[in-house]
Symmetry: C2
Subunit: 485 residues, 2 copies
């Protein structure tokens, strides 16, 4: 308690006393002097210790509550929020290093690219699309290039309704918003649902491109640990009691970067909590089609009987990223906000691409394509697992995802991820460091390796290079003479 | 001065005194009790009148300064800002009615659409594009559908450098950012340049789609009156002395909605002021190609020797909106911010469309097309002017734009724009009310009529309907028996 008497307040300052006091306490919380869930002194105690008015303390606590670093429990007192305070400080200043994605890394045909989660161009269904392109041009002529209504081409929204039946999702074309890819979906939802300073929850770790959007929007991001069967439910509920997030951003299957999928049980609990605490869930489905197990996948949206889920579907990973097309399915009360945000963002998605994609869905050309790439990637997955076990068994641990395009590997403590990435880059092998996927430092010993853009030969060759580099790092490390003492 | 003694402050309230005082003064300013440029009482006078501490008054004035409603002149005192205070109050709450654009107005083939500024589909160069589509598919195959670097396809940026020479703009491919249409350009620039609460300047009136973006971003918009030869320069400088706008958003030619173009003199002055006050100018060039005069057009960017101009070029109006393609040319210090905002917004613009457009530019197919539509629209323009003079001479005044796709008409005071729009809608004629283009009420007697989507027959028919409706409104107005007394 003696921290508090050390607080110096200047009654002559232009800064109001309550703010001086609040800032001093904020400082204690930031520095960890006051730990999460610590009870703050009662109003009366602190006021008398510092010889100030009770009202000043009340205002200081209110000020901290508005900042999100303390919470009040009625009849009990005021407590330090259970989150690391840096997570909820203004996010604008704490960008994660998405520059890694933008950095001009020279990729040649010899580069082994374990960082990309986009399929290589030889897997694209170009011939199918070429046919469909020309059919649309023939059929629609100039109409194919007019402004499209902002919600999206009606025909396409209709064919998406049919397409979604394959995934157990029943909806109407009115509930669908066409978007230019999932990234735009996240951006538009941020504009529609978040004001400056609003709180949202994400899984920790998560997709850096989503974090970048939320940060740019000036929102406050609360990261909740992800476990191998889904988000940590008790922690989620603890945080829902304190904060009022506008939404929870998550991926049900083959989460990026962990590859983890939700159990049915956790999906149900998540939906219950969203209903109980009156919030929404953004389900980002970028990859659930790549399922290598025998169990069918059930998107969260398929279980969403209380309309709490906004479902984003991207075709960048399972068809071709250059199409820049995807869609949202959203609960009715949100649709107008979403439509208005889409209009403000780019008026509408390319009319031509929408018409082409409509015809592609109607002809059911996607079914063959998905089967084909699922088989190809299943083989690569098996090859990947086999070679990880062969080469990296001593140096990494991981959970098998049984789907998707990546593995999330925890390195043994003696390996610096940053050094490993740099050394591999000089050998023309690219990997993604775990630090890319969270604003906290918790993932500095993880790497994400993806097999989307490498064939079976490159997988074996690349993993062997990684093994050699790791072994050399261990040999050269200062403690290398005594590692097993 | 007796307003001030009426202020009641409650020393027991939880709200600090300075804030109570500030809010009371803010209220006076909002209600117009304190007019723009009024000097506020000195600190000492107000403190003694209200029997409060000097510091409380200092803090109250500072609080108002932060809100942007007063400004301090060193050695002189504190003054009410010269802007209508509602313009600079938090913008989120004061959306202009962009819903009009989203409203589902049923457009049939009998509708006469004077509201659209997009060309009709029969003017689109579909055959040219069909040829280029297939050439790109043949040439690039799967590569045409991969992720493109966020800045844009290098080949396209190179051909844009050549294209821009036709407009007197000399730049390098490094300074170009590809965007999915001008609307996205405005959105991305907002993300790159504006934080919550930042100030920017726009012409008054201006494009509602830009206002919607700035408002959604939580920025504060200062509207500066536009005159028929460009922005009001002395007023602009007055405001630049007080505010620190991140940028000034403007259109050099055939401004939307007024059709006004900048004189060379005003363009030079604008550039000088941007340099003097260290701000940027966003030049939105959506239409400068449609020039019906003999004088060539000189974009502001072509005069920008001190790198103050961010140039946005859209092809939606002069080629086909369904392409969703445009570009920015930006000063070097801004490029990284812009690139990062683009990446966050949608990763990249469709690789396929970029490659197609590159080939379209390289083949110089655009030159013929622009000539063709310029001739067509010149004829419609002449027809439009002729019929406006024939039918609406008694009811409207306007300035001839000599280019572009719209006229900005001021109605005689006895006509209600809203009633006129509604009555015309019931006769299947659509027009744009002036209120759409500003957050202030100054333009409620204006309408924008565009001839982009109407042919010469429809122009004559539509304008005659407008005349008939106006005449009927005048006949039915309560004062109709005495209009000429």
């Amino acid at each position: 308690m003696n921290h508090f008497v050390s607080i110096q307040l200047d009654k002559k300052s232009k800064t109001p006393l309550y703010k001086q006091l609040g800032d001093a306490l904020y400082n204690f919380i930031q520095k960890g002097v006051l730990k999460p869930n610590t009870k703050l002194p009662t109003i009366r105690t602190l006021a008398s210790q510092l010889k100030i008015n009770n009202v000043t303390v009340v205002n200081a606590y209110k000020y901290l509550e508005n900042k999100g670093v303390v919470y009040a429990q009625i009849g009990s007192g005021t407590y330090v929020s259970p989150l690391p305070s840096e997570i909820i400080s203004p996010p604008i200043s704490r960008k994660i290093d998405t520059d890694i994605q933008l950095k001009q890394i020279t990729i040649t045909k010899n580069t082994i690219n374990f960082a990309s989660i986009s399929p290589t161009t030889n897997l694209f269904p170009v011939e199918d699309f070429k046919e469909v392109f020309n059919q649309v041009l023939e059929r629609d002529k100039g109409d194919a290039f007019s402004y499209q209504e902002s919600q999206g081409y009606y025909g396409l929204r209709e064919s998406i309704v049919d397409y979604l039946k394959n995934y157990g999702i029943n909806t109407k074309s009115d509930n669908i918003q066409i978007i230019s890819g999932a990234q735009q979906g996240i951006d538009i939802l941020s504009k529609a649902l978040l004001q400056f300073g609003d709180i949202l929850f994400v899984e920790q770790p998560t997709y850096h491109g989503a974090i970048a959007v939320f940060q740019n929007r000036g929102a406050r991001i609360v990261e909740i640990p992800l476990e191998s069967d889904g988000i940590n439910i008790p922690l989620l509920e603890d945080y829902l009691k304190i904060y009022n997030p506008k939404f929870i951003y998550m991926m049900s299957y083959y989460q990026n970067p962990t590859g983890y999928s939700y159990s049915l049980n956790k999906k149900r609990k998540l939906l219950d909590l969203a209903e109980k605490y009156n919030t929404y869930i953004i389900e980002d489905d970028y990859l659930s089609d790549l399922n290598y197990s025998k169990e069918p996948n059930i998107p969260l949206k398929a279980l969403d009987h209380r309309n709490r889920v906004i479902y984003i579907k991207s075709f960048s990973k399972i068809l071709m990223p250059g199409l820049r097309l995807g869609f949202l399915v959203a609960p009715k009360p949100l649709l107008n906000h979403i439509l208005s945000a889409k209009h403000t963002t780019d008026i509408s998605t390319s009319s031509f691409i929408q018409r082409v994609f409509d015809l592609y869905l109607r002809k059911e050309l996607w079914k063959n394509h998905i089967n084909k790439i699922c088989n190809i990637y299943n083989k690569r997955y098996d090859c990947f697992i086999h070679n990880i076990n062969k080469y990296l068994d001593n140096y990494v641990t991981y959970t098998k995802p049984n789907g998707g395009l990546s593995l999330w590997l925890k390195l043994i403590p003696s390996i610096s991820t940053k050094t490993l990435c740099d050394k591999l880059l000089s050998k023309d092998v690219i990997i993604s460091p775990g630090s890319l996927f969270s604003t906290s430092q918790n993932f500095s010993s993880f790497i994400r390796l993806s097999f989307a853009a490498v064939d079976e030969k490159e997988i074996e060759k690349g993993l062997k290079i990684i093994k050699d580099v790791i072994e050399k790092m261990i040999d050269n490390s200062p403690s290398s003479t005594t590692p097993f003492l």
